[in-house]
Amino acid sequence: DAGITQSPRHKVTETGTPVTLRCHQTENHRYMYWYRQDPGHGLRLIHYSYGVKDTDKGEVSDGYSVSRSKTEDFLLTLESATSSQTSVYFCAIRPAQQGTMDTIYFGEGSWLTVV
């Protein structure tokens, strides 16, 4: 258990409304990530963070913003949700320790439907 909690786990929202997904970790890891997963596209990186207030864009960042004001929380915001943002969103952390511990651990996922 990597101590990652995503909320909400399931959400249905209307087109044009803002939505915020929260990722909370209990282990004080520095690196945090948001991915989306869609059929036929695998896992695609939206945004990532390498410290408090240090974030950067991934491959599919358009329409998304993030914030990290505390080590333990990484928020993903859909500014104005569109149907193309219907997806499963995974938060992940990376301990970034040397050797075999340097891997990714995922939260349980957030299923978002935009109608």
Binding site: Y35, G42, R44, Y48, A92, T103, F106
Partner: protein, 111 residues
């Protein structure tokens, strides 16, 4: 861009072998492999840290060829529990924090 995996999908009978490949357009410094069951988050299988290194996990092993910028996952004597989608993952660029995944391979093992 992301690492490309092949094949995209494969169906096996129990006991058969499979190989999943992961090819990158950028230099790879380490490669990680994950398996995802339907409706669940991906789970880490193994990490390969050095070029040419081969590691094993029960009947699942992997190799990593730095020069060719490729990694392969070998599943031998497959079991029903091996079904799922397999992803390779890697740090995209040396010294970056950006971590991305390959395109994925769906594996189904039939009884």
């Amino acid at each position: 861009q992301q690492p490309v995996q092949s094949p995209q999908a494969v169906i096996l009978r129990e006991g058969e072998d499979a190989v999943i490949n992961c090819s990158s357009s950028k230099a790879l410094y380490s490669v990680h492999w994950y398996r995802q069951k339907h409706g669940e988050a991906p789970v880490f299988l193994m990490i390969l840290l050095k070029g040419g290194e081969q590691k094993g996990h029960e009947k699942i092993s992997a190799s990593f060829n730095e020069k060719k910028q490729q990694s392969s996952l070998y599943l031998t004597a497959s079991q029903l529990s091996y079904s799922g989608t397999y992803f390779c993952g890697t740090e995209w660029g040396s010294g970056t924090y950006k971590y991305i995944f390959g395109t994925g391979t769906r594996l189904k093992v039939l009884a």
